[in-house]
Every structure is written in C-alpha cells, then in structure tokens.
C-alpha cells in the first residue's frame, strides 16, 4: 500500500469500527497493533458442549487448568486473573510493555488482536440523551451509527420491557434461548411486571452481540456453554472478525507486532513512532486515529505532548456481584444446551439516584473447584455442598454509573533506567458515592428476593473490575487542553483524532461497548467525508 491516509492505532472494538467507514469510502488505512492472539489453546478445545467435554476429553486439563496451571489461581489477585487460560493472551505482555501502578485499582489493559473485546461478555445497550448529558454528541447523533454497527456485528435481541431503556434493535436476530434458571426468574418478573415497573425495575433478555442464526458466515450459536473458553462457530462477536473482513480490501493493511509509543505532527500530517521487539519504526499518514483503549491512548497522548506527571480525569463503572440462590431451581434439571453469557439484564431506577444496571448469569461452565475455594469448608464437604448448589447459583453482576472527580485520575510517569513509562492510576470513591452504591445494592437485593433469588453475600471485587474506563480526553462543545471536539480531534492538534472510550465524559450504568463502537463509526464516517 502507498503511504496511508489514515493510521488507526489498536484493533479493539473502537478501532475496527472507526476503520470500517474509512476503508469502505476507499481511503487508505493502516492499522497498527501489537495483536497478540491465542496460538496455544484455541485449537485444543473441541467443538462440543461443556458437559460432554468434561466427560470425554482426556486433554481438558490443558485448557481448563492451563499448561502452566495458570487457571488455578492462588494468592493475591493479579491483573487478568479472572481470564480463563484460553483467554489469557488478552493480557499478555501488558506488565512488561505497558506497566501501570495503582494502590487499589485493578486495571485491565490489552495488547491483543481485538483488545479487551477479545474476551467481551457481548452485552449491548444503546445510550440515550440522559446517558450522554455531558457529551456534545447526543442519542440522535448516534442512532444511525448504532444501526450500522449492529448490522456489522450481529445482534440477538427481543423487544421487551427493557427496550425503552436499552433501546430497540431493528432487524436484530431473535434473542438466544434462555437457560432453565433464568427462564424461571423472567417468568416470575413477567407475572408481576407492572408492580416491579412501579418500583423502578425493568427486566428482559440480555441483548447480545451474538448470532442466533447464520450471519455473515458466523453462527448460529451452538449453545455449547463454552463462551468463557472458546469462540465456537464464531457466534459471539469479536473485533477480530471485522479485522478479517477489512483485510480483504486492498486499501487496508493490518500491521501486526507494533506498539505505538508516540506521534509527531508535521505540516503534511503525522509521524507515528512504534517499536516491535526492539526494532524502531516510523509510519507517516495524513490523519492519526487513536483507539488503543483508554489507558493505551492516554500513554500515547501524554508521552507525545511531553506531559509526564500531568493527571487527566478518569471514570470507571464501580461494580459488585451477588451470588444468589435461585430457589425455583431446587429439584429441577437444568438443560445442557445454553450459552454462558449474561442471560438476563435489568435496570433499577431509584428516585434521586443514578440508575443501576444488572447482568444475570447462571454459574455453570466454570469449574467447581473455583467455588470450593471460596467456601470456609474442607474440600470434601465443599464438594458435596457445591454440587448440590451450583444448579441454584445465579450471579447478579451490578454496575453503577461513574463520573470523573479529583480523586480519579491517571498520569504517566517516566520509566526508570530505560524501562517503559508507567501509568499511575488513582481511584477513590467519595463517601457519598459509596452510600449511593449501598442503597442501590440493598434495593436490588430486595428485588431479587421477590424474584425468588436469595443473595448469599455482596462481593466487591475492587475498583477497576468492571473493565469499563472512560473520560480521559472528553468531548466538549468548546474543547480546552486535553479535551476533544465532537469529531474526536484532540485540542491543539491538526490531525490527531481519538475514537475510543477516552472521549466519553462520564459513564452511565449501562454496558458501554456498543456505544464505543457506534461513536467510533461516527468519527470514522465524519473523517471519511473530508
């Protein structure tokens, strides 16, 4: 390819959808990415159901536990500890190449092909004007781009009680089939839906970036319950599928192995500096589109502008989860044919407080010893107890809204002794924010009890665990230093655009990935027209 017009940094959910309209408009696009991928485990996992594999595959220990037993985590929780061995490539090399430091924040970064979305839970929601109230981009600006992205990634969703809050997905495939446990919960909700609605609770089947029928050479979802371990039938959307589609265009080039470190602007465009295993590289283009994820983009911008030590604002959805016992499942057989993603979603509105978003899962396709580890019982008793309780176990994952404050910042520190620069993350919730979270959790717990699910406890995995980050270079009507305009242009630059979560001034409680993709598509479309 001749000198590219556009250089897109990253290959995650935002990057690929920023690149799509550019490539389709005939513009020459170069995508720079480290691009780690799973070269060890993927081929080992049979295309069978979880329970069949468990009973038949003599090699299952290799991918369930990991060849170095990395799937058996003991000791302090490290970044990426929640990823299964086949997904561990998502955080490969992050500690070595892009280190960060934080006292209490568990930040997750990725240098993988597809970025963090390579292990995405695929939950979807559209943002409305209330969710975007501090942004110059409103719901109607994104409407067309939501539809465009949904037509690309494949959406399985039904029109139900959640549609007024999470949006309608015209032309979506039917929702994936619910499992037995979630079907019971939804049935209970539907029986008293009006009463629940009056109290602010809306529930429905999770909208997922997945195929319930054949779609662009993917799917249908085989319901093998292996979504934490493999991408069976490519039914769940991964940005990698879009990179593959883009790669069939002559005006698109995916350059793997390059970690972008900084950019320089000249009169004719941008020079991007990158490293690959000790080799230095320079790439020239007219416009730079940064979509390396909130942390990755912050590193590149702050380093390029020489702003070491300068804190930038930052937001991250606080999250907790509640293991619950779904008493309706006592004595019932749970069907094997299911998916492992979020089954149900709920939004709880409390007067005077931001909304709360809940994703409801059944604990089925992870190994039992992980639960045994959490009980105060010896292995013999905990095994008996867990075998009986797992069919009843429903996990409610709660996500709260967040906005930047002075206590939530990130800053880049110069690396010592020739080492890589280190991102310093500071994140603390105020007493008021913590109180709001407690109130919402108590209300959700009460709602779940009425739905037949009794919470055993509320677990706070610590700040950062939601892996939803935003707000570092927010879009503003009149952008100032380290802010961006509505087309993602970084203030003070001529041709450096940002197209990832860094742009969102705050985070509503809803799942954000669809909005990241739609906003990236909007920016790509604007740039393609120039």
């Amino acid at each position: 390819m001749n000198e590219p017009e556009f250089i897109v940094v990253g290959s995650g959910a935002s990057a690929v959808h920023a690149a799509w309209p550019l490539v389709h408009a005939g513009r020459r696009v170069l995508m720079l990415d480290v691009g780690h991928r799973d070269e060890r485990y993927g081929a080992m996992v049979p295309a069978e159901s979880f329970s069949t594999i468990r009973r038949t595959d003599v090699d299952q220990h290799r991918y369930f536990l990991g060849e170095k037993f990395e799937g058996v985590p003991f000791g302090s929780v490290k970044v990426g500890a929640q990823l299964t061995p086949p997904r561990s490539f998502i955080t490969r090399d992050v500690d070595r190449l892009t280190p960060s430091t934080a006292e209490r924040f568990l930040g997750l970064e990725s240098l993988a092909l597809g970025g963090l979305a390579a292990g995405w839970g695929a939950g979807l929601a559209r943002f409305d004007d209330a969710d975007l109230k501090r942004s110059p981009v409103k719901g109607k600006d994104l409407e067309h781009h939501y539809a465009a992205v949904e037509g690309r990634i494949g959406v399985a969703a039904d029109d139900d009680d959640l549609s007024p809050v999470l949006g309608r997905h015209e032309g979506a495939m039917p929702a994936l089939r619910l499992d037995t446990a979630s079907d019971l919960v939804l049935e209970r909700y539907r029986r008293k839906a009006e009463a629940f609605n009056r109290q602010g609770l809306r529930m429905g089947v999770s909208r997922l970036a997945a195929c319930s029928r054949e779609f662009r050479g993917r799917g249908p979802h085989p319901l093998t319950d292996m979504d934490f371990w493999a991408d069976h039938a490519r039914a769940v959307y991964r940005p990698r599928w879009t990179v593959e589609e883009l790669s069939s265009f002559d005006n698109f080039e995916y350059a793997r192995g390059w970690l972008v470190t900084r950019f320089d602007e000249g009169r004719d465009g941008v020079v991007v500096h990158a490293v690959r295993e000790g080799e230095q590289g320079e790439f020239r283009g007219r416009v730079l589109v940064l979509a390396a994820g909130v942390f990755g983009t912050a590193r590149i911008v702050l380093r390029s502008l020489g702003l070491y030590g300068r804190p930038v604002p930052f937001a991250c959805n606080p999250s907790t989860y509640m293991p619950c016992l779904n008493l309706g499942m006592v004595g019932r057989e749970a069907e094997d044919a299911r998916h492992s993603l979020s089954q149900l979603s709920a939004v709880l509105e409390t007067p005077g407080l931001p909304s709360l978003f809940a994703s409801i899962y059944s604990y089925r396709s992870l190994l039992t010893f992980k639960l045994m580890k959490e009980t105060p019982l010896g292995v013999r008793e905990s095994l008996r107890v867990m075998r009986a309780l797992i069919p009843l176990l429903t996990i409610v994952s709660l996500q709260h809204a967040d906005a930047p404050t002075a206590a939530k910042t990130i800053a880049l520190e110069q690396g010592e002794g020739g080492g890589p620069d280190v991102l310093r993350i500071e994140y603390a919730l105020s007493e008021g924010e913590r109180r709001q979270i407690r109130v919402q959790e108590q209300r959700m717990k009460a709602m779940m009890r009425r739905l037949g699910c009794w919470a055993l406890k509320s677990v706070d995995p610590g700040p950062g665990a939601s892996v939803h980050y935003a707000g570092t270079f927010p879009m503003a009507e009149r952008p100032g230093e380290l802010q961006t305009s509505a087309d993602g242009l970084l203030h003070g630059t001529r041709a450096v655009h940002i197209a990832d979560g860094s742009l969102l001034p705050e985070l509503p409680c809803k799942a954000l990935t669809l909005t990241l993709m739609a906003n990236a598509d909007r920016i790509g479309t604007l740039l393609a027209k120039r």
Partner: protein, 144 residues
C-alpha cells in the same frame, strides 16, 4: 521443594481426601507437575509441620483440612487439597463427581445437616491439632 516421589505420595493422599479413594497415577503425576509451577515459595514452619503431620497421620487429614479452611484458608494444606480437586475435576474419569447434581428440598436439607455436622466434628478435632502443630513448627523454624 519436596522431591518427585514425595509429591506423588502427597498427591495420592490428597486424592483420597477429595475422592475417598486413590486417584489414577496420571492425576498424581499431574499433581506433582502442577506443584512445581504453583508452590515455588518457601514453606513456613507451621505449614511444613502441618504437612508432615498429615503425611504421618493420614486419618487426620480431613480434620486438618476442615479446620484450615475455616481458620486459615490460605494454609498450604488447604491450597494443595484444592489443587488436587482441580486436577481431578479436569479429568474425564472423575469429572462426573464434580458436575452439578439435581437435589430436591429433602436432599438439600440432609446435605446441609450432614455437611454441617461433619464439619463441626472435624473442625473440633482439627483446630487444636492444627494450631498445636503449627506452633511447634514455628518454634522449630520450619524443621518438622
């Protein structure tokens, strides 16, 4: 780090704790390999003493494990027992013994009662032994 043969003996012991019978040699070998990856840190005096006691008096193992899970969940013995459970679970021969089981109300009540009773008995026996062995191990500075 114990030698390979000592790890095999330990693996068989822990396998019996989890399954109630000796596991197949393949799982024991896998346990020894996993041990080399996961337990590289130096062992404290109390942990070493408890492990040595469990090896000498295997009938005490369920009591020591129950007590450890309750009062010292990061104890080496309990972590090793969980590792053996993970290895057995990820083997088709034993997976069925870890897969969820449909249980009715009566079954749940019985399970809750019997598991509670067994735990209480084991903790009652295991706690003083665990604490005494641990204290002695600490005094001896890691020499069981």
């Amino acid at each position: 780090m114990p030698d390979r043969e000592a790890l095999r003996i330990e693996g068989r012991l822990l396998g019996r704790l989890v399954l109630g019978r000796e596991p197949e040699p393949e799982c024991v070998e896998r346990y020894a390999t996993a041990h080399e990856f996961l337990f590289q840190e130096s062992v404290s005096g109390s942990d070493a003493a408890v492990m040595a006691l469990a090896a000498r008096r295997p009938w005490l193992l369920p009591c020591l494990d129950s007590a450890a899970a309750l009062i010292r969940p990061h104890a080496l013995l309990h972590r090793k027992a969980l590792l053996m459970a993970a290895i057995l679970e990820a083997s088709p021969r034993y997976a069925g013994e870890f897969l969820p089981r449909r249980t009715g109300w009566a079954g749940l009540a019985w399970m809750g009662f019997s598991a509670g009773l067994m735990t209480a008995l084991r903790v009652a026996v295991g706690t003083p032994v665990l604490l005494l062995a641990g204290r002695r191990g600490n005094r001896q500075g890691g020499r069981p």
